[in-house]
């Protein structure tokens, strides 16, 4: 007899499929700036989010177990939150050019999540708490925000170092003429591009395809502000996640802080982003240095999320 896939598995497949096609379309948009690719990618990303939310709800309804208590469930939420936060910022700040990377990473994490699927598992006693419905979504949402910040940081760093490369490379005379001394603002139809990358602008005007592509991205200052704005979403979420985790630990383990590897790894990430925020108040540190810290911050988040869950045993070892 043919066995049917359960509804949540069908929705998961739909979500992964939607993300993969959306990521490809948005990556195509990133490289070609063909508007139709953007108009294809956005609805697919939204459809992926809808399918994933429906999948989580269906899983909860079918199993009657809060679906975020293992790596499969939390990674699923991580993907949906990353794409959700990205869509919000993309609408608000015209960030669609970064969509391929965010949605692509979300699809990767979601595909990885499926490798942890072990079927319906009831929660262990320490996870049978209303705090699971508060703490886990907050922490995972902060991870999602930091992933978006990481992608924008990576773009900043790419553009910055390409500008540096052009600045140190001997420029043909016509390039210097094309961009030198211009103070006009360009309008790409997305974000206003300010000339804080004059060498890229000059090379773009001279017909350099890579430079043209970099030149259609927002200015470095605008990318820096975008990173700041996304981190400003992630850090309060992480803070609230740590606070609610401490409140839960106070009920479950007898102390709000146990120096458990997960807690301390989260504290480490919090410190890194606190450093980012402190440095971002200094004009001399705003830009490439603070962006590097944001990028490193996401690596610490990944260590906290996967490294501690998979390699270091502690009170938070809930893989399955």
């Amino acid at each position: 007899m043919q066995q049917h896939m359960p509804l949540d598995a069908v929705l998961m497949v739909i979500a992964i499929g939607a993300y993969v096609i959306s990521a490809l379309a948005l990556l195509g948009y990133f490289f070609s700036r063909e508007e139709w690719l953007k108009h294809l990618g956005i609805p697919l990303a939204i459809a992926g989010v809808a399918a994933q939310i429906a999948q989580l709800v269906a899983r909860w309804e079918i199993t009657h177990i809060w679906p975020l208590l293992n790596l499969y469930g939390s990674l699923s939420l991580f993907s949906v939150v990353s794409v959700g936060i990205f869509i919000y910022f993309a609408y608000r700040y015209k960030l669609w050019f970064a969509g391929g990377f965010v949605v692509g990473l979300a699809a990767l994490f979601l595909a990885y999540a499926t490798t942890w699927y072990e079927g319906a598992m009831p929660a262990v006693p320490s996870l049978q708490s209303y705090w699971a419905k508060i703490h886990v979504p907050l922490v995972v949402a902060s991870y999602g925000a930091f992933m978006v910040a990481f992608v924008v940081s990576a773009m900043y760093l790419l553009k910055y170092y390409y500008e540096q490369r052009l600045a140190t490379a001997p420029a043909p005379a016509n390039l210097a003429m094309a961009g030198g001394g211009s103070s006009a603002n360009l309008n790409t139809g997305e974000m206003r591009v300010r000339l804080d990358s004059p060498n890229i602008a000059a090379a773009a005007a001279a017909g350099n395809a890579t430079a043209y592509w970099f030149n259609t991205m927002p200015s470095l200052a605008q990318l820096d502000i975008l990173v700041y704005r996304v981190v400003a979403v992630g850090l309060p979420l992480l803070t609230l996640g740590i606070i609610t985790g401490a409140m839960w630990a106070h009920e479950a383990w007898g102390a709000y802080w146990q120096w458990d590897p997960k807690e301390t790894a989260a504290l480490f990430s919090w410190i890194v982003y606190a450093i980012y925020m402190h440095l971002h108040t200094r004009s001399a540190w705003r830009g490439v240095r603070s962006t590097w810290i944001s990028a490193v911050g996401f690596l610490t988040i990944m260590f906290c999320y996967f490294g501690v869950n998979l390699w270091i045993s502690g009170l938070h070892s809930y893989k399955m």
Partner: protein, 462 residues
């Protein structure tokens, strides 16, 4: 204060109020925290020699890295951060809370604009003030060297965000200090039927029974025995002498006079029937043995060590099963002679083994043990308040942008020129878009009936 002391004091203030110094302290704190994540904490010294090369293991132990979070230098680092935070708060954050109203060179500020409008200076100034007041800006006028300046502030109150965050951090530190000063914690392994004294209170706790529920679940990786519930039913007798029945579960601690009791773990203790030539040894048989305890046989150097209680023995292999539920229980015993292990056996309950010289040991009965943790922490409310104050400070600092506009209205040959510049606590880029919109709106507002001002929107330079 002598000149030398004053110089030291000023050096201290200068160093500790430096943001980069604070960042360095945060960085070191972060790295020390990370070391504690990577190096397992609180293990036996021999474990570190098992995990690392001897020189590294020695370093871990000598530098207290095995207990880094309670080491003097970790606590000292938090102390330094608190000092830096305090000095920064008084030296930087509070003075920056309400910056003085001062004139600026408008064209030197990156966010600046100029609008030429017809009309006299007084009416234009009044119009500009009204424009900002209507948009929620706090407007103040000051005269400097005969020139009247208008200052418009938005979200000025949000300049206190960093101050609030720092206060929150300090409150958390105070809360944890209260625990160190007045709190206590510990754990008790309580046998079913046993009564223990509640530490620091005139109260007792008796464990009436303990139950656990484990559910076997077939997963893709195989059978998993998932714990579902641990329940301790206890009777608490407090100051009033009245017994009160309570249930302790994971996530549901009970409160006895401010001390919370938590369900932490469970285990098994054992009773043995120990006989010598068929005669029961009351001294050895009346005791309750925990895992790791030994039965020392009188008149010999022979010891029977309780290695492990095995809830279920696999009937096919005769070995301990992975099933933690109690079906066919047995006890793993090891026999040692003069400190040397002589043998080991898995002994089913109610069956005996001969351990030599006429001695027989029979596992008679297992007794459930509930592992309870207790903690009295009067600092919890402070830590909770501090955490939310910190969070409030972060939200205020991140989401409300205090901005100040510097406006100067000057007579021009054909009316007036309104000079406008903006500063924020987070630089200029973050306010660029709003400033452009504000200038465009101001232009429209200043020329409602006229065709337009003489300048185009693109001239709002940034």
């Amino acid at each position: 204060m002598t000149a030398t002391v004053r110089a030291y004091y000023e050096d201290f203030i200068r160093t500790f109020s430096n943001v980069l110094f604070a960042v360095c302290l945060l960085l070191i704190w972060g790295l020390m925290t990370l070391v504690g994540v990577i190096v397992q904490q609180g293990k036996d010294p021999s474990d570190y020699f098992g995990m690392y090369a001897p020189p590294l293991a020695r370093m871990i132990l000598r530098l207290n890295i095995d207990n880094i979070y309670h080491s003097p230098y970790y606590v000292g680092m938090i102390g330094l951060i608190l000092i830096s935070l305090t000095v920064c708060t008084f030296k930087r954050v509070i003075p920056a809370r309400l910056p003085a109203l001062r004139p600026v060179k408008i064209d030197k500020i990156p966010l600046n604009a100029g609008v030429d409008v017809p009309g006299d200076e007084a009416s234009v100034r009044a119009h500009v003030e009204q424009f900002f007041v209507k948009r929620g800006w706090q407007v103040r006028n000051r005269e400097f060297d005969g020139t009247e300046w208008t200052f418009a502030d938005k979200h000025n109150w949000a300049r206190r965000g960093v101050l609030i965050a720092h206060i929150g951090f300090a409150i958390i530190a105070a809360g944890t200090t209260v625990y160190w000063a007045k709190g206590f914690s510990g754990d008790s392994a309580v046998l079913v039927g046993q009564t223990i004294d509640v530490p620091h209170h005139n109260a007792t706790l008796r464990l009436n029974n303990f139950n656990f529920k484990i559910q076997p679940i077939m997963t893709k990786s195989g059978m998993v025995y998932q714990p579902i519930d641990y329940v301790s039913n206890v009777t608490v007798v407090g100051d009033d002498g009245l017994p009160k029945n309570e249930t302790i579960r994971v996530n549901h601690p009970i409160d006895i006079g401010g001390t919370l009791f938590y369900q932490a773990s469970y285990g098994f203790a054992l009773k043995f029937l120990v006989t010598h030539d068929g005669t029961r040894s009351a001294a050895l048989s009346d005791k309750t043995y925990f895992t790791g305890d030994s039965i020392t046989l009188p008149g010999s150097q022979r010891q029977i060590q309780v290695m492990q209680f095995v809830p279920t023995v696999d009937r096919q292999t005769g070995q301990p099963s992975a099933d933690p539920r109690i079906n066919d229980p047995a006890v793993a015993l090891a026999v040692a002679e003069g400190g040397q292990t002589a043998g080991a056996a898995l002994v089913p309950m109610k069956t005996w083994i001969d351990v030599g010289d006429g001695w027989r040991v029979t596992p008679e009965q297992y007794v459930m043990v509930s592992g309870l943790q207790y903690r009295y922490d009067p600092g919890v409310p402070l830590v909770g308040i501090g955490a939310f104050v910190l969070l409030a400070g972060l939200v205020i600092s991140f989401y409300f942008l205090p901005a100040r506009l510097f406006v100067r209205v000057q007579s021009a040959p054909q009316g007036c020129t309104v000079g406008l510049a903006a500063m924020t606590v987070k630089g200029y880029d973050i306010f660029e878009t709003q400033f452009g919109e504000l200038v465009a709106d101001l232009r429209k507002s200043l020329a409602p009936s006229a065709p337009a001002s003489s300048l185009s929107p693109a001239e709002a330079t940034t």
